[in-house]
């Protein structure tokens, strides 16, 4: 198991190299003059040239990439073209807020969706199943920004229960968490339901029932544990992508997360900032995936035996 974890962590190195290579070259292929974008429409041409020179943007792409990778090898994510601050500091000053939103959003989704998924599966075609599946469908189909604005109009403008934006205090967390959680919840509910439906038709469940195990134990001890693998996968993938920032939710609620920073950096053609964000996301994503794989072993002992 330890060997497996170490091997997976070492695999992060080629992932980071591959990701940085792709992003760097895509950014350099995109049209647009970085200095002009940063200095704006009214900056004189001498200022544009001076800034491009200072940022080293007049050098060939390969030299710039080499310089970047040298820095990266020393643990330096570079300096943002736009702000002149260290990219690591920039991303890390926003990451706690992104983590906070992702964590509570997922918790909200998981706590509600797994029980609903189980109930829907065990009472297939009942009223509660139909209602929850309609809601799951609506949840998947509702755009985040629309739901966010509706919640703001309802709970912030009219009822004044929660602030419309910002990240101060628990009250500011409620509406973005509901907005973000709803989409994830819908996915998890549907996955839980279909996975449970598959499992409860298995022979060992029938055997358990035949042996007289009470139905509660059958569902929670025998069926759920076996049905959890795909559910955990979905949760892991969604959590991983949420760590990359939920751009629309962040924009609607003025949440100062990494997603907005990334989008603004792309608009500004701020290559070091974009690269820094993407590298940190890819590391986070890989680690979440690793955690999911470790969890598999915990949930299913058969998988654990394969790691040895």
């Amino acid at each position: 198991m330890h060997k497996y974890v170490i091997k997976r962590l070492i695999m992060l190195i080629p992932v980071v190299i591959g990701v940085s290579f792709l992003v760097f070259f895509i950014m350099s292929l995109a049209p647009g003059d970085t200095a002009r974008t940063i200095l704006g429409e009214d900056a004189p041409i001498e200022a544009i040239e001076a800034l491009n020179e200072e940022l080293g943007l007049n050098d060939p792409v390969l030299i710039r990439y080499g310089r970047y990778m040298m820095g990266l090898a020393h643990g330096d994510l570079g300096t943002s073209y736009k702000s002149g601050r260290s990219v690591f500091t920039e991303v890390m000053s926003r990451f706690p807020d992104t983590l906070k939103l992702a964590f509570w959003g997922m918790l909200f989704a998981v706590v509600l969706s797994i029980p609903i998924g189980i109930i829907s599966a065990t009472r297939q075609y009942s009223l509660i199943d139909s209602v929850s599946m309609v809601f799951a469908l609506l949840g998947v189909a509702t755009p985040n920004f629309w739901l966010g604005l509706m919640l703001i109009i309802g709970f912030s403008l009219h009822l004044r229960w929660f602030p419309s934006g910002g990240s101060e205090g628990w009250k500011a967390l409620v509406l973005p968490v509901i907005t973000l959680g709803t989409g994830c919840m819908a996915n998890i509910t549907r996955t839980t339901r279909s996975s449970m439906l598959e499992v409860i038709r298995q022979d060992y469940i029938r055997t358990a029932k035949a042996k007289g195990v009470n139905s509660r134990n059958v569902i929670y001890k025998h069926a759920l544990k076996n049905a959890l693998i795909p559910v955990v996968t979905v949760i892991g993938l969604q959590f991983g992508s949420l760590l990359g920032g939920a751009v629309l939710t962040e924009a609607v609620f003025s949440w100062p997360g990494v997603g907005t920073f990334l989008v603004n950096s792309i608009k500004a053609k701020d290559t070091p900032a974009v690269l820094g964000c993407v590298i940190i996301f890819s590391i986070c994503f890989s680690i979440v995936n690793l955690c999911v794989d470790i969890l598999y072993a915990y949930i299913d002992p058969r998988i654990k035996s394969k790691y040895k």
Binding site: G32, A50, R94, I152, S164, S167, S254, T260
Partner: protein, 515 residues
């Protein structure tokens, strides 16, 4: 194994939770303001974040909201477009390239130290090294300190732009001792911004907000802050920004979405202040490409476009159709241009005369939704003349590059004039700036170049005015642009809030705002 795993997972969750609780606690600024008195905190909504708190490291409006309040400049611009001393008591041109300045006595930095001419010398000379705002003082050759309150600026060339540049947020005056101390500690200016301005820096949460607190020892009692704290909140989403004003989370909103202006006017608890801004949007063609090299074609386009419709489509009617090349409130504006009425018949006749009676096809580049709306109206107007205009919308950075490289046939752009007319006329209309320099019309007229050059250095104000009037007449006769509209500046606020004093060039001060 199971236990170990449980511990790891529980640990990971705890870390997540702690990280979650730890973020965002840095900023305060709850709306304690209000008519009740006591501590007055003014919450101001803006749509973009500060890029830097170092005046030498930015050239954008949002960052200037912060640095203009923390730092002071040698001169400032009054509401009547006059330059008066801010830190400077007075100044005098000894000759074309030498200016003697006297500083006000006893001006204190936020740390209690006294401003001296050495601080000015240090600030202006280090500004020259900045790629972002160094160009503003490119005419400054050296700063010679006479004593604590007297210094001389030697210029390398005569320039009328010196005084207006000194009013720019990039020409803020630092404390030499403070900056040197920061640099020695390996810190940056923006880590601890400190100046002589009406507010002291309190904190900045990137992406969320920044807070300034009143400086009770500010040197100019006439402009002493009338509130205790300014909290600028970054809300990028338009509807969310208006809602935050409606539900009282904001007291003041600078970047009012045009589509919400009506809603704000109808709300008794809110007020909408309109001001004449120097923002002009224009449609222009690339004169290096036929048929746009023909002045008759350009004049035909000027007659063919219904600007009133453009005003409705692009900015929801929050502005007026415009014929000039520089905003009404700007220094350097003169009402001397040839006006082209909306007259389809005249346009057709001009096209016939030019030999394009059957029309032609061309592209129009735009960089945002507002300008795409303008383009749609123009497209429909030109279709009446048999002209096909294909609209291509792209990211701003792509737009700058493509129009700079002359890839466009036509484009729609905008301009906000600042306090120095040369900063408008030179980039937009001179040959040396054709393309990436800002002259996206690729208009090259040696006569205009000469007039702009003369106006930049001539110390005779009447002659400068004559130069600019001739430039404006020439531009309009040559139909270089189709000026579309002058955008009305909008500031929305709580109806009880007083003292809002908008600046036409969008360099608003908020020291006078109070309940």
């Amino acid at each position: 194994m199971k236990k170990a795993l449980c511990t790891i997972l529980a640990g990971a969750m705890a870390v997540s939770l702690l990280a979650g609780c730890g973020g965002g606690g840095a900023d305060s600024g709850k709306g304690e303001g209000g008519a009740a008195g006591g501590s007055q905190v003014i919450n101001i909504g803006i749509n973009t974040d500060v890029s830097s708190l170092d005046p030498h490291n930015h050239n954008d409006t949002a960052s200037a909201y912060a640095t203009r309040h923390i730092y002071s400049n040698l001169v400032r611009l009054t509401d009547n477009n006059e330059f008066v001393g801010d830190l400077a008591e007075k100044w005098e041109f000894v000759d074309d390239v030498t200016v003697e300045f006297t500083l006000k006595e006893g001006v204190k930095f936020h740390d209690g130290s006294t401003l001296t001419a050495e601080d000015v010398k240090y600030s202006l000379e280090s500004q020259k090294e900045s790629p972002k705002v160094g160009h503003l003082v490119s005419m400054v050759d050296s700063v010679e300190v006479k004593d604590d309150t007297h210094f001389v600026i030697h210029m390398n060339t005569p320039s009328n732009a010196l005084i207006s540049s000194l009013n720019h947020s990039g020409c803020a005056i630092f404390s030499k001792a403070h900056v040197e101390k920061l640099l020695a500690e390996g810190k940056k200016i923006e880590d601890e911004p400190m100046g002589t301005g009406p507010y002291k820096f309190e904190n900045w949460t990137p992406g969320a907000s920044f807070t300034l607190v009143k400086n009770p020892d500010y040197f100019d009692s006439q402009r002493m802050a009338q509130n205790d704290k300014l909290v600028f909140k970054v809300i990028s989403e338009d509807s969310a920004r208006t809602i935050a004003l409606e539900n009282g989370e904001l007291d003041l909103l600078i970047d009012v979405p045009f589509t919400d202006a009506g809603k704000i006017r109808d709300n008794d608890k809110l007020a909408l202040d309109e001001y004449v801004s120097t923002h002009v949007d224009y449609f222009t063609v690339n004169e290096t490409k036929p048929p746009f090299d023909n002045v008759k074609v350009r004049q035909a386009l000027s007659h063919a476009i219904n600007k009133e419709d453009v005003v409705i489509a692009a900015i929801n009617g929050e502005g007026k159709a415009f014929d000039n090349y520089i905003g009404e409130a700007a220094i350097g504006y003169y009402d001397v241009v040839t006006k082209y009425d909306y007259d389809v018949e005249k346009a057709k006749a001009l096209l016939e005369e030019a030999g394009y009676g059957d029309g032609f096809t061309f592209n129009c580049y735009v960089s945002n939704a507002k300008r795409a709306n303008s383009a749609t109206v123009i497209q429909a107007n030109l279709a009446e003349l048999g002209i096909t205009m294909n609209i291509e919308q792209m990211e701003a950075s792509t737009f700058y590059e493509k129009t700079g490289n002359s890839e466009h046939d036509s484009c729609i752009a905008g301009w906000v004039a600042n306090a120095e007319p040369d900063n408008t006329y030179r980039p937009l209309f001179t040959s040396g700036n054709a393309g990436a320099g800002g002259n996206r019309s690729f208009y090259m007229n040696p006569e205009v170049d000469k007039l702009v050059d003369d106006a930049a250095v001539n110390s005779d104000k009447a002659a400068v005015q004559k130069d600019y009037e001739t430039v404006l007449k020439t531009l309009s006769e040559d139909a270089v642009w189709v000026p579309l509209f002058a955008q009305t500046g909008l500031i929305a606020r709580n109806a009880d809030l007083q003292g809002v004093n908008p600046s036409p060039i969008q360099m608003h001060d908020f020291y006078s705002v109070h309940y």
